[in-house]
């Protein structure tokens, strides 16, 4: 089956308009596009609380973490695979090509200095990529650069093109203006006359070159031209007006310095109407090529966006936060604004993480289907290394087909643009084994709780979570109830109560310092509701330990409220996730 899939590695040298045309034809013929990326960090392998998605993160806090990451880290690879599904079969495009060949494009990216002055890397993650054969040299030496939509419009304002200057005809000109125009007009006319006559000159090359020297004639390609320096926008305006008034055969080109300020006008002499349109189309062409190189990989994102085809992916919140930041515009401050902005560019995103959360664990279904041979394009390649880069887009298709087969989703539209915040696991980005089944069966350990079931606790002194649980039972009878406890970073813990209302009861006793928790307070243990964590994320108190940031919020809060969550939001409390392996044993 491996002959049916091709992964094309695309670098600076192979990224051409013709490749883009090929990709466009594949996208036009497909139903879905699978999309996956490799960044200089992975939220699942990070250890610090501000990088990692924690089991109590809501969509909102997860977005704020994704925003922080997208602003700090870099994208190295984006792999894209257009496909179509018929039953359990993945069909590829265009069908007239080699029978059912699936083509995946893996783009290697690296920014220019202007796009990203510096960026962060997660060392342990880069090392694990390197061990699996990820080629960093290919990225840095040969990576395609890019420009976000916002950066492009800013750059356009700075580097307006040759022909891009509007002439304002001032109704009233000063005497100086008129004198300036007369002088320029005389100069251009004299030069133009010489251009018209040069072909008929009886004196040969020597005289021609002498004339060129005296008149300041230069060549623009093969056409004669002359350069007039400008000192102001007013002068530029007057020169352009003058040139347009002399003859249609003259084409004025505005020359700008690196800051985008016009420095001179190059007047190009064309010999005929055809010659003029040839010149204009040459200029258009050159400018098109320049902006193609400038936009770089953004062209691919625009292609996908314009196609309006549904995009299938995993970990969408993180990936699309990066795409938004790097290819569209700086990320807005809230999840709501982000999803609105994203929807305008990518109207149909299907997050497999969300889809699986909605349809529940598929373990039983997987057991019965293990004998089934699903025709998915995934095939392990033994040679590893570079040729395997970009395989994740194929794994996503594989996962999508399995879900589709096991659980026929008639109404896929209903799942669009919904993101599942907790990426409890990630497909292995470079490896070649099919780990999609583990992904499918993982979901069952997740308990659905609300943020109102949670409190944060810090300032304690305990050697293990078991010991901490014991201590808590002595502090207050409510801790005899059923609760789960996770230690986040050494001296901070999140507690999830099974019973609704337990949190409110507990927090009620905190502020008036009820005698029942006197021991706890005198030991220096502090408790706050989920609202404190929301505030930490919103205020961007990412530096240092979580306990310190929570403490800052509690101290700065003068409303005397127990810092409950603002609204009830569901979270996915994964019983299996261990947050701090060094310090604590799982209870």
């Amino acid at each position: 089956m491996s002959s049916h899939t091709v992964i094309k590695q695309v670098t600076k040298s192979t990224f051409t308009p013709s490749l883009l045309r090929e990709l466009k034809s594949h996208i036009d013929a497909c139903d879905f596009i699978s999309l996956s990326s490799i960044k200089t960090f992975s939220a699942t392998s990070a250890s610090s609380w501000r990088r990692r998605l924690l089991p109590f993160d809501t969509a909102e806090t997860a977005y704020l973490k994704a925003k922080l990451a997208a602003e700090s880290f870099q994208i190295l690879n984006v792999s894209i695979c257009p496909f179509r599904v018929e039953g359990s079969k993945v069909v590829a495009f265009p069908s007239t090509l080699i029978q059912n060949q699936l083509k995946c494009y893996n783009f290697h990216l690296f920014p220019r200095e202007e796009q990203s002055y510096s960026f962060s890397c997660q060392a342990s993650y880069l090392e694990s990529l390197a061990r699996k054969g990820f080629d960093f040299n290919l990225c840095i030496y040969e990576g395609i650069s890019y420009l976000s939509r916002v950066q492009e419009s800013l750059a356009k304002r700075r580097n307006a093109t040759h022909l891009d200057f509007k002439v304002f005809s001032k109704s009233r000109k000063s005497v100086a203006d008129s004198l300036f125009m007369e002088r320029i007009k005389a100069r251009i006319q004299y030069w133009r006359k010489s251009c018209l006559n040069s072909n008929k000159s009886p004196h040969g090359d020597l005289a021609n070159s002498l004339r060129q020297l005296i008149l300041g004639t230069q060549l623009h390609g093969e056409r004669p031209c002359m350069t007039i320096d400008v000192c102001s926008d007013n002068q530029l305006n007057l020169i352009l007006e003058t040139v347009n008034g002399i003859s249609d055969s003259l084409v004025p080109l505005v020359v700008r310095n690196s800051l985008g300020t016009p420095t001179s006008v190059r007047v190009v002499f064309t010999s005929s109407e055809e010659d003029k349109s040839a010149l204009l189309s040459d200029i258009d062409h050159a400018e098109e090529e320049q902006s193609f190189n400038l936009r770089g990989f953004r062209e691919v994102m625009d292609l996908i966006s314009n196609s309006q085809k549904p995009i299938v992916s995993i970990n969408c919140l993180n990936d699309f936060a990066f795409f938004h930041e790097k290819f569209i515009a700086p990320l807005p401050p809230s999840l709501h604004e982000f999803t609105c902005s994203l929807k305008m560019v990518f109207p149909k995103i299907l997050d497999l993480g969300h889809l699986m959360k909605e349809i529940g664990p598929l373990k039983n279904a997987m057991d019965t289907s293990s004998s089934l041979n699903l025709e998915v394009p995934f095939q392990a390649d033994r040679d590893g290394g570079q040729s395997n880069q970009g395989r994740n887009a194929l794994k996503i298709i594989s996962l999508f087909v399995k879900i589709n087969y096991l659980h026929i989703c008639n109404n896929i539209e209903g799942y669009f643009n919904m993101f599942h915040p907790t990426a409890c696991m990630e497909l292995e980005s470079v490896g070649c084994q099919d780990d999609t089944n583990t992904y499918l069966t993982h979901q069952e350990d997740i308990a659905k709780l609300g943020v109102h079931n949670l409190v944060f606790l810090w300032g304690f002194n305990a050697a293990s979570s078991l010991q901490l649980k014991d201590k808590l039972r002595k502090y207050h009878p409510i801790f005899h109830e059923n609760f789960d406890l996770k230690v986040i970073d050494r001296n901070c813990a999140a507690i999830a109560f099974q019973r609704q209302g337990a949190v409110v009861e507990l927090l009620k006793e905190i502020k008036p310092r009820s005698s029942s928790i006197e021991n706890m307070i005198s030991d220096g243990v502090i408790i706050a509701g989920f609202g404190a964590y929301e505030k930490v994320c919103r205020m961007g108190l990412w530096d240092g330990r979580l306990a310190d940031s929570l403490q800052t919020v509690v101290l700065s809060d003068n409303t005397n409220s127990p810092l409950l969550a603002e609204k009830s939001t569901e979270i996915c409390w994964d019983n299996e996730v261990m947050l701090d392996q060094n310090e604590y044993l799982k209870v």
């Binding site: 002055y117 960026f119 060392a123 840095i140």
Partner: protein, 508 residues
Amino acid sequence: MAARRGLLLRRPLCSMATSTSRKGKVEVKQVRRGDSYHDSLTSLIQSASFVALDAEMTGVASTPWRDSFEWDSADVRFLKLLHSASRFALLQFGLCPFIPQRDASSGVVSFVAHPHTFHLSPSSSSEGDYDDDDEFLCQTSSLHFLATHRHDFNTSLRHGLPYLSRVREKAVAAPPALRTESCAVGFRHLIDLLSSHNKLIVGHNCILDIAHMFDKFIAPIPSTMEQFMKEVHQIFPNIIDTKHIMNANQTVQLLMRNKSKSLSSAFSSLCPTISSAGYHRLVRASDVNVKVQAHDDEGSSLFNSGAKHEAGYDAFMTGCVFTQLCVHLGITFDQCLSDPSISDPLQSNVKLKPYLNHLYPTWNSGTVLDFTTGTEKPEGTYKQKYPKVELKNIVLIWGFSSVLKYKNLKGCIAKVFGPDSVISVFFIDATAALIQFRKEEFVKDFLALKESLERRKDDPISILHPLSVIFEGGNTKAGDYNTYKDVIACNQSKVLFKDQADASGVAC
């Protein structure tokens, strides 16, 4: 062999110890994870007169405003150095022991250099305890630059030695037997060895390399320059910065006038016979013979032909430059061999002493960093490029309209404070500028005026006020030089200074 030796005598500086190496190429030993180097290098370091070093990092400045500026005070320069050394990672570390030997036929002392390039992996070996240690910064232009010099990033990440500082080593809870096995600790032992033998360490413009070495192999950099210099001096009591000698010594100044003092140009102008060994050149009597030892007893090692910006090769060039500078300072190397009881023949030399532990600061501020006393002091011999800056007379403004240019900024201030009130204006970037006034009281007046104009935002007097050009838009903020320092001290790395200043929450 006899014919070969004859050749060597005529062109002694291109001499290569093995016949496999090509002319003009310097074989640099490549050390990667799992390679044995410890025992051989230990004995080389022990018998060396000095060890040259160089580091290649993932970047220098995380934002344009974190580059060194002429208006940076010593404090600000230290904050920038601290940020750079603690946030960026090392990719390579070059060590090159120079071992003295007496030429059998001529009786002259020459050196055998043993360049080593250590490939380092940015990942720290500790887990969990130091969360943020798992992250490092890359400067995009630095990676592009290394790529043009064909740096192999895959080697660093796949086969690089992890590094572990003394402090972290203590923090990692592992049985002692296991600790010594770790190659991270192994490499750090070499640094300890340099330290325990009080070896003379030679670098070129090496303050940043020393700072990285301290941060990566010893401990987090302390919070003041004085403390940093003191702690470095305790560990490395003998450091030579060849860039300082080049700038401070009159003879060398004269010799190198109008020439760039970058390492590679210093190498080609001071050591022409080594740097262009492939060509026929007359050997000057003053040239010091440096041979490169490429074979080694362990046999299986990997050697590369050294290239510019490979750490081992840069360390080699630095050492060669140093030997030649010694000649110009009138230092002979006879004592390096004559009396084996003198363990520090070079560092105790009176002619070298004035330069010992004097490091060139990141920017030519007319000062030198004296690590022996832990002070920054004026260096009279440095050619002053820039007039002295009065920090007290400086105002920082940021967030102004993007059309505000030098001319109108200076002009509108002149209208209020007088035609000569502004000495100069320095644009940090498009969003922020430092204004140096002639008098200190103008700073206070300017800030007070800004406040009163803001209070009376909409009345005609403030709209017509000349300074309103600066405060147009209502987002312009201002502070004194301490505000500038506070913004630099803030941990964040926003690209634009304006955003950094706003994020740092300084009072304005």
